[in-house]
């Protein structure tokens, strides 16, 4: 087998990844792997991770996306205003330049993320106290509102009143945070 990077030397490093039944393979020669920084000092070659080969894998997403989803908007002309990285740069390097990039490339990220995270595109884990700002409060309020609706349907008005008070208290808390005026 020939290295898929240089199409010259024999591929000696093979990498197979299977997620939810989808298989992808990468075949590189030692030199190309090294050039791409995919051989690490520590384990001299065993350190192939999905992560490190990402640049190449994203390319597929890119072409697919251009032809199938966004024929009008050329995604490679998008440029992040904070770090000046273009969408094309992102595809080639496989890394974002700053947190704003997520916003700039927003409309093109779902296929990429879906492919990397087994179909998922939205975070459902931990929310930081400060940077998360009101997010956790808002989520809690959403939950309580749902609960309130159910209680009213079940005509459990006493409990409903308690939940309603709790919602009000949380809403006041959000206002208080906003008035403090932090950038959080």
């Amino acid at each position: 087998m020939i290295c898929e990077e240089c199409n010259e030397r024999p591929a000696t490093l093979h990498f197979t990844k299977v997620v939810n039944g989808k298989k992808s393979e990468v075949h590189l020669c030692e030199k190309c792997a090294q050039d791409k920084g995919e051989m690490s000092l520590f384990n001299g070659g065993a350190g192939f991770t999905f992560n490190e080969l990402l640049g190449g894998l994203l390319n597929g997403v890119h072409t697919f996306q251009q032809s199938a989803h966004q024929p009008m908007v050329r995604s490679d002309e998008l440029r992040c205003s904070k770090c000046h990285m273009t969408y094309q740069d992102f595809i080639e390097i496989g890394r974002f330049g700053c947190s704003e990039c997520y916003d700039t490339f927003k409309n093109h990220l779902n296929p990429v993320l879906r492919r990397l995270h087994s179909g998922n595109v939205v975070h459902t884990g931990k929310i930081p106290k400060k940077a998360g700002g009101n997010i956790s409060l808002k989520k809690r309020i959403e939950e309580l509102k749902q609960e309130l609706k159910e209680l009213i349907e079940q005509e459990e008005f006493e409990s409903a009143a308690r939940v309603r008070d709790e919602i009000r208290a949380l809403e006041r808390e959000i206002h208080a945070v906003q008035e403090e005026g932090g950038d959080e």
Binding site: T12, L13, H14, T16, K17, V18, V19, N20, G21, S40, L41, F42, N43, G44, G45, A46, G47, F48, T49, F50, N51, L54, K82, C83, M85, I93, G94, R95, F96, G97, C98, S99, Y102, D103, L109, V112, L113, L116, H117, S118, G119, N120, V121, V122, H123, T124, G125, K126, I127, P128, K129, K130, A131, G132, I135, D183, E184
Partner: protein, 363 residues
């Protein structure tokens, strides 16, 4: 320096202590990737930004103490010698990437070396918690606490929809990589491993050899970690990994029992031959050392060998890496010199075990 003194300085607690299921799981690691809101990511940030982040870390993280862990020691990559960096890599406390290519990188280390926080690696902040044995849940809890504490000292890049924003899209969301290091000689010897690895991959987990090249896993040591970081709460990511790890532990135990039943004397022979090589060789390559250490450890677990501590595999796999050998030798060594040193270090280490046995005064 005597080997005893060297070991006292060289061995982190996760290498020398035994944890739950430590006959099979050598260590558990949790890594959280975080970035600061106001700076570009390390692949593209300016020198000034890099230095500001370093100063922030030194001022806000290393001088404040975090709970019972006390102060973190701050080590700037620019102040370390190449061998010192390599030793930190071999101890799994920093990544090769930080050691090689981050002139503005740094690491904060807790005294027992269970916690390390890398600064300006691929992300601004990478929190790592490394525990002996199978302790993923505990490690997640500790890492989460440090995460909360660090957030008090700065502002994270976080998005309501995407979660913690990371430089690489494979880490976005939770920024969590949970992994365990497993010793699986039973599954390798019974040739089950080749069937098990694809099955684990199907579950969205990544398996790879920790040492060695290509598909070969030196020392029968494998690392298993989650691949998906987005769209799943941290606790679920860890629970899913844990359930697979528990099944692998079970299969490894069954494989070992089967081996003892079907080829007891052959196994005992293999173990003692390897012990003989480790105790007597004058030149040993890392590959042979890894194989023999794996056999020795298996022999200890199966009760063929009773007077050697279990942590010897973990410890010697790391201490016989090139960086450590050179640090112990006090200078650079060529490959053939390393093989001689490696053999000597292993022999000496085994002699320490004997002293221990006779009630000597080793630690």
């Amino acid at each position: 320096m005597s080997l005893e003194r060297f070991l006292q300085n060289a061995v982190s607690s996760w290498m020398s202590e035994e944890g739950p299921d430590s006959d099979i799981v050598l260590s558990s690691r949790i890594r959280l990737a975080r970035n600061l809101k106001d700076y570009k990511f390390p692949i593209i940030f300016s020198r000034e930004e890099a230095q500001e982040i370093i100063h922030w870390a030194e001022r806000r993280l290393s001088r404040n103490s975090y709970q019972e862990n006390g102060h973190f020691e701050f080590l700037g990559m620019d102040s370390l010698k190449p061998i010192e960096k390599r030793v930190l890599v071999e101890k799994h406390l920093i990544s090769p990437n930080l050691a090689e290519s981050s002139p503005y990188g740094a690491v904060l280390l807790s005294a027992n070396e269970e916690i390390s926080v890398m600064i300006n690696e691929e992300d601004h902040i990478r929190i790592q918690c490394l525990y002996p044995g199978l302790q993923l849940v505990e490690a997640l809890k500790t890492a989460g606490g440090i995460d909360d504490w660090i957030e008090e000292q700065g502002t994270y890049a976080f998005d309501e929809e995407r979660g913690y924003l990371t430089s690489c899209p494979t880490n976005v969301g939770t920024g969590l990589r949970a992994s365990v290091m497993m010793h699986l000689p039973g599954l390798v010897l019974t040739r089950q491993i080749n069937r098990i690895i694809p099955a684990i991959n199907q579950l969205g987990l990544v398996v790879r050899g920790i040492y060695g090249e290509g598909s070969e896993a030196l020392g029968n040591l494998f690392q298993i970690s989650n691949q998906i970081t987005l769209g799943k709460p941290e606790e679920d990511i860890v629970a899913d990994l844990l359930s697979v790890v528990e099944q692998i532990i079970e299969r490894e135990r069954v494989a070992r029992e089967a081996l003892v039943k079907t080829s007891d004397i052959q196994l005992e022979d293999r173990v003692f031959r390897s012990y003989g090589i480790l105790a007597n060789s004058r030149i040993i390559e890392s590959k042979e050392a890894a194989k023999c250490l794996s056999d020795l450890r298996l022999g200890i677990d199966l009760g063929y060998i009773k007077d050697i501590s279990k942590t010897i595999l973990n410890e010697l796999m790391i201490l016989t890496q090139p960086g450590f050998l050179q640090q112990y030798a006090g200078g650079p060594l060529k490959a053939d010199e390393r093989d001689i040193r490696r053999a000597a270090l292993i022999r000496e280490r085994l002699i320490l075990e004997k002293k221990d046995e006779q009630g000597g005064n080793v630690q």
